[in-house]
């Protein structure tokens, strides 16, 4: 089932970055201020380094699996009764998370530019785009992500424009002072880095000469640099209380950017962000599709994709208000984070056991 195409490491570095940097990016400076207090931006690199351990574990598992599908391995050791509920859980978590990320984006863009346009138009558009990308296969998805990356990366440079109003005085010498909630804050950062765990599903599509650990690590480090830099700027650009009061500090910073030919650049840049959202959403749908294929073996792939996309489109109607979406994103990103830890360890155990069994068989022979 797996057709391996020639990708390069950079494709997957970019994919990691595109998967990780999502909507949370726009709220991250406030979340850091809320949960880590003054100079909360410092927590981002710290947590990022901790996450590196998990990435190395993931890369190790991908390597051990020798580009076979992790799901085939689970199929071999678990009876249907046990594995089907797990598959449903995995597919459900990933699909709903993807759906809620899309809903979150459209809720913001609706607030900013299209207050009277019904949400189903946006969600319908996303569904159509996601469907076509998914049908075009893994190669189309990865190469498209690379194109999207180059179409959106320039937006980062706009953050340099606000440097003129950056004040070191605003940063203060206080570190993590004020009302803090480290546990909640750490989770918010983890949420912002989520996305790389899907590589465990992707790995069977990636040819052997690519070092997955290296690709993810580089992408992760790039995301870390971007997050830390932009959050650092926000802490020096806004006064602390102001930062606590702003729902989307990064959008507000963009609002302040003025270029000679455009008075308001924030709407434009935020629209470009749709491409990143498309990447994230499609990746989660893709993962859900892979898992469901193990259950519905005989179903036509395009039909399955259609069902997933339509199902999520309909699900989107249950997430209309900002509060609903936030709740769903919070619950399902927690679940996804759990999966990102448990799944690799579980696979490692399976592989160890099957290796032992093979050895036993050999010994027996």
């Amino acid at each position: 089932m797996n057709t391996k195409t020639n990708f390069s490491t950079i494709d997957f570095t970019i994919l990691t970055y595109m998967l990780q940097s999502g909507i949370t990016f726009f709220v991250l400076p406030r979340l850091m201020a809320e949960n880590f207090g003054y100079n909360g931006w410092l927590a981002i690199p710290v947590i990022s380094i901790v996450l590196l351990g998990q990435i190395i574990l993931l890369g190790h598992v991908c390597k051990k699996m020798k580009r076979t599908s992790p799901l085939d391995r689970i199929d071999k050791v678990m009876p249907k009764v046990l594995r089907y509920p797990i598959y449903i859980f995995l597919a459900g978590t990933w699909a709903v998370l993807g759906c809620s990320v899309g809903a979150n984006y459209f809720q913001i863009i609706q607030m900013m530019s299209f207050p009277n346009t019904p949400q189903y138009i946006f969600k319908g558009i996303l569904a159509v785009i996601a469907f076509f990308i998914l049908v075009s296969g893994f190669e189309g998805f990865v190469k498209g992500t690379t194109v999207f990356f180059f179409l959106t990366i320039w937006t980062l440079f706009s953050s340099f424009v606000v440097l003129k109003d950056f004040q070191f005085d605003q940063l203060t010498p206080f570190i993590f002072a004020g009302d803090t909630n480290f546990i909640n804050g750490s989770f918010e950062v983890l949420k912002a880095f989520l996305g790389f765990e899907l590589f465990i599903i992707f790995s069977s599509y990636i040819q052997k000469d690519i070092n997955i650990t290296k690709a993810i690590t580089l992408g992760h480090l790039f995301t870390t640099v971007v997050y830390t830099f932009v959050t650092f700027i926000a802490f020096g650009f806004f006064s602390f209380q102001q930062l606590l009061d702003i729902e989307y500090p990064v959008i507000q910073m963009l609002d302040y950017v003025k270029v000679p030919f455009l008075e308001r650049i924030d709407n434009l840049i935020f629209s470009f962000f749709l491409m990143k959202v498309v990447v994230t959403v499609t990746a989660y749908y893709w993962a859900a599709k892979e898992v469901l294929q193990q259950i519905f073996i005989n179903i036509n792939e395009s039909l399955l994709i259609f069902i997933i996309v339509t199902g999520n489109f309909l699900l989107g109607f249950m997430m209309e208000t900002a509060r609903e979406i936030e709740t769903v994103v919070n619950i399902f990103s927690k679940l996804a984070f759990g999966i990102s830890i448990v799944l690799p360890i579980f696979l490692l155990l399976i592989m160890k056991r099957s290796k032992n069994q093979t050895n036993e068989v050999k010994d027996h022979d």
Binding site: S136, G144, Q170, S239
Partner: protein, 379 residues
């Protein structure tokens, strides 16, 4: 080609979405408000007796049609809510009035004396309102100023906008946009400031620098001293000072125009037993382009003498400004930020800066380098 299809689909969808349904905005049907002005008409002296504050909202939106007699739509109404006012103002026009291109927010002094807070919520909440819109206080009423036709300036907003920009460039007033105002308002070590303008015979003139205590107007600084105020607040890269320096030797005044001034400011804080000592060092560079007096500035001795006189003049003025802000118990210079950054978080939490500030000893040290004395070598 088939592989490309999703992206082609996406491209077309993105092109099509721009004309989408209820939020379709045709530029000919819109009027972009450029200036909003607020006067207060009820509850002027309200002591929180439950009476709602009514604002008189004047909106002015330019029109680009060349054959119109008047190049703008100007409307006035009374309302409690900002949005309500805009809606009422739109009733008598064929256009949809929007705020996305707002340039200027004018508040009458009375509005600010009553507290700006109720009018700030919309600035923070409404994504349409640009963070770059400028804020200013109008001495007197806002409405007559906005309704007035200026022969030389058919577009009042552009006139006011550029006036404020120019005066800010020469460091006569600060340039305060929505972003800066909210930043300073919410900083616990600084009080916000706003420029003040006034309607005069020939046009509109900037006439002061307002100091606010939180969101409420407290007092104003006359513009004669505002450049020296900026020496204390930030590094200045442009400005002119015209001084009348008392010469103790002759008892007469030396008239000096010190121009193209650039300054560097440095603030240090020392913790004393009871309070703080704040030291502000200002290094100034500039040129003398006009000098009427007895001091011979063609030789080194005279030049040093005039430097000393300017130093004394600026130091005295600076100290006056600081004690003026202390007496009004406002900290527009942001000395509180420096004090905050010199201590631990716990100490800062325990400190009531508003109460502490009037008692703080501030030493000002001015160091002047005169780059040159112009094209003349005459004494």
């Amino acid at each position: 080609m088939i592989k490309l299809s999703p992206y082609i689909v996406m491209f077309f969808i993105l092109m099509l979405i721009s004309g989408c349904g209820a939020d379709e905005k045709v530029i000919e049907d819109l009027a972009f408000i450029q200036t909003k002005g607020y006067d207060i008409i009820a509850g002027e002296d309200l002591e929180d007796d439950g009476e709602e504050v009514m604002y008189r909202l004047t909106t002015s939106a330019p029109l680009v049609e060349p054959d119109r007699e008047k190049p703008k739509i100007s409307r006035v109404t009374t309302a409690r809510l900002n949005k309500e006012g805009i809606q009422l103002n739109a009733r008598t026009t064929e256009r949809n009035i929007v705020s996305g291109q707002l340039r200027l927010l004018l508040y009458s002094k009375k509005v600010v004396e009553n507290g700006l807070r109720p009018l700030l919520d919309v600035l923070e909440r409404d994504p349409q309102i640009p963070a770059r819109a400028k804020l200013a206080i109008v001495e007197g009423e806002v409405n007559p100023l906005m309704e007035r036709e200026f022969d030389e300036h058919p577009r009042t907003t552009i006139y006011l906008d550029e006036l404020l920009e120019k005066e800010a460039r020469f460091n006569v007033i600060p340039e305060i946009k929505v972003y800066q105002f909210l930043r300073d308002l919410k900083d616990d070590g600084k009080d916000p400031t706003l420029p003040m303008i006034k309607l005069e015979e020939e046009g509109v003139a900037v006439n002061g620098l307002a100091f606010l205590k939180n969101d409420v107007y407290k007092t104003k600084l006359e513009l004669d001293d505002s450049l020296i105020y900026f020496f204390l607040e930030k590094d200045v890269d442009q400005g002119d000072l015209n001084m009348s320096l008392p010469n103790p030797e002759t008892g007469k005044n030396e008239l000096v125009s010190f121009t193209s001034i650039s300054t560097e400011r440095d603030i240090s804080v020392e913790k004393m037993e009871e309070s703080f000592d704040v030291n502000i060092e200002v290094e100034m560079k500039g040129t003398i382009l006009e000098n009427i007096g007895d001091i011979d500035i063609s030789d080194e001795e005279g030049q040093k003498e005039i430097e000393k006189l300017i130093e004394e003049y600026v130091t005295t003025k600076a100290e006056e400004i600081i004690s003026f802000t202390q007496q009004s118990s406002v900290d527009p210079l942001g000395i509180g930020k420096k004090v905050r950054n010199s201590m631990s978080f716990k100490e800062w939490e325990e400190l009531n800066w508003r109460e502490e500030w009037p008692g703080v000893r501030v030493n000002v040290e001015v160091d002047i380098d005169i780059r040159d004395f112009g094209m003349s070598v005459r004494g």
